[in-house]
Symmetry: C3
Subunit: 300 residues, 3 copies
């Protein structure tokens, strides 16, 4: 399968497996290990985590499976995120959900992720969300320390705007490697607000979270979703494809910004569908048929 | 009349004649030729086209007139646009209006424009609208080929935001020469969203489409237009000018960003009015009287 | 008290005294002189003016006090602003409030400020508001002349967006030294629109006007203000602080962009409260408690 080179020393897979719903998959450690091997076999070698997924438990679940066969690590690229502090029964004193990008907290969470994931390095650490209280100099100091110690190899962001990206970048010695943002036929925001233009300018490949819009496009519950669904179904028929999710993935994958979808499935067939979508082609007119169905009007 | 140097090798006229309503002018080829000569005589030497104007027919109508006296070409600057694919009886298979900035399509349309316009070069090719599916590297490749072959001398854009402009520019070997945007006393968007600030920063002269707001300011049909009309009439009286359209053109022409209005008229008197507006002066207070009438409130 | 170096040759105080309400203070020249000395004694050595404050009268009121003891000038940094033309009984012919950033008007107003303030130099001249009719080349020419003649040492802006800041900066030979914007727990705009990110990127310290939101947070009159007030009171109790305004100042002062609050008080106790807030600390969670109370929802 295609790889994407997102840094001079890092290739990730063109489709990424998202681990945020791991607890819902109800797998034993052995089952998860098997799944991860199937994923790698299918060409999906990059796994997307966050410290907070599953109320702070997903990373550790993944680590337990990896521990059963540690040699698998060398075939993987691990992404995780930090910065959000959830209200959680694990932190009974926390009254407010907030963001923490202090040097101390970034390092603490990265080290915790290493422990959880049973690994000694993270390929890419993402700052989970932009914060109104954000000191890029401190982030840079934290990353320098993590990089020097070999604990984190690359830094990226998630849900950042261009000005936020640019501001942080100006404090760093090496390029941010990605911006993970929400992109799907139901979420056109970043096609419209300049974020994808900006990432194309900076030669940075975006990652897309929720590329299926949480399933809402396959089982539409409102007028807008219904219209998008119908356009997807129309294109599917035209290109003789029966699996609508494959059409959605193809719609994302063909975009010139090289969008890397994060697929949150526990089923290997669905993951293979996403991979197969790399071979699915639709015309530019078909791409816009889906786009304008979501826009609710034809383009200007 | 004033010229504007928009590239090291290109001067255009300070007022541009827009050809988008050519079919409404109901001119014979000979009448159009006469009109073009009158326009040039009046100092308006630059003509603004798009492949799609008049359901893809305006360029060819212009070309037929030019063919009657090909030597006129050397006194003209021709601008045209590409990228929009209209739903049209000429393209019965097209189901969706969309944008196409593939290398192949840009070159195809530029070459078609050359045939239509009966010329062997286009002075400025504009990308008609920003697209959510946009690959600046491909645009750059198309332009390089068109430039090398002498078919297109300069590239510009229309309706782009600063981030879209900047993203495309980063892939090009030479500067974009303009951004043609909607500007009029009824359309203040680009005074407010940073686009004019950005173009001033980049030393790029904007072109203004619909500078009279489609006539809505001369015959106002709603409260807002009525208020703007009244302010224009007030200023007209103060500066002892009876032609309100001349006041509107002057309002546009005096802006420090060097706005180049595109006038879509088929009447030489009206075109001359726009040219004469270059000599019309109003005070800064009068400029703001019109601006704030449109804003609906005084400035902060 | 802390100083902030906002230019290679200029330090201002971490808290600034705003003079816009001078006429409400009802002080004699001697009382004002005493107040200014108390302010300097407290570490607040920077005074923020505008030509238009007090319907064009505040600068002169300040100047009269300063004239009583001219040697005080060397311990002060004076900031003033220009560009807004008010409707005023002093300008009976003016029909419209508008902005004027012509070279002539900038120089005229700066020179008038010198006369009013009874000083021979202004430390920082701010452009009061962005204007839809704005020629940065002309601003640059005006500032060059004022700088060369020793009348104005530094240039800054107020209420500018990033693109407006960047556009002006591109025409200047030296860095803009600040952007004075509205920031308070009731006004989160610049935390959200990229302006603070941009200023952090450019290593420019923002100044904050209306840091107490005009007192509306201390005596809340609507639901939103009530919620913010309650969060401030909650944090005050947690950090064992009884003065809510001190908590608000601390909230502003701790932000990593080095926000410099402009305090518009005529009471030395209140000014000292703002200075004392530099020693007040709250946790990041408490900062977000106030932020999210204003946001009306927890962070994403």
């Amino acid at each position: 399968m295609n790889k994407v080179q997102i840094a001079s020393q890092l290739e990730i897979s063109r489709v990424v497996l998202g681990i945020w719903r791991l607890l819902d998959w109800n797998m034993t450690d052995q089952q998860l290990l098997t799944y991860l091997k199937q994923s790698i076999e299918a060409g999906v070698t990059t796994f997307d985590h966050a410290d907070i997924y599953g109320d702070y438990e997903c990373e550790a679940g993944f680590g337990k499976a990896l521990q059963l066969e540690p040699s698998l690590r060398s075939q993987m690229q691990l992404i995780t995120k930090c910065g959000i502090k959830l209200k959680s029964s694990k932190f009974p004193d926390r009254r407010v959900k907030y963001y923490d990008y202090s040097k101390e907290y970034i390092i603490q969470q990265a080290e915790q992720s290493l422990k959880n994931l049973k690994t000694d390095y993270i390929d890419v650490l993402l700052l989970h969300r932009p914060s109104p209280f954000f000191n890029p100099a401190e982030v840079a100091a934290a990353f320098d320390e993590l990089k020097t110690s070999g604990k984190v190899n690359h830094l990226g962001v998630s849900n950042f705007t261009p000005v936020q990206f640019e501001s942080l970048q100006s404090y760093l010695n090496e390029p941010l490697v990605t911006n993970q943002i929400e992109i799907s036929p139901a979420q056109l925001e970043h096609f419209q607000n300049g974020n994808l233009n900006y990432l194309i300018e900076k030669r940075v490949s975006p990652m897309a979270w929720s590329p299926l819009a949480g399933g809402s496009l396959l089982q539409p519950k409102n007028e807008k979703s219904k219209n998008i669904h119908d356009a997807i179904a129309r294109v599917a028929m035209q290109i003789e494809e029966t699996d609508l999710s494959k059409v959605i993935y193809a719609w994302t994958l063909m975009h010139p910004s090289h969008i890397i979808p994060v697929i949150g499935t526990g089923k290997i067939e669905r993951l293979k569908t996403a991979v197969a979508a790399l071979e699915t082609t639709m015309s530019l007119e078909q791409w816009f048929d889906i786009y304008t169905a979501s826009l609710g009007t034809e383009v200007a």
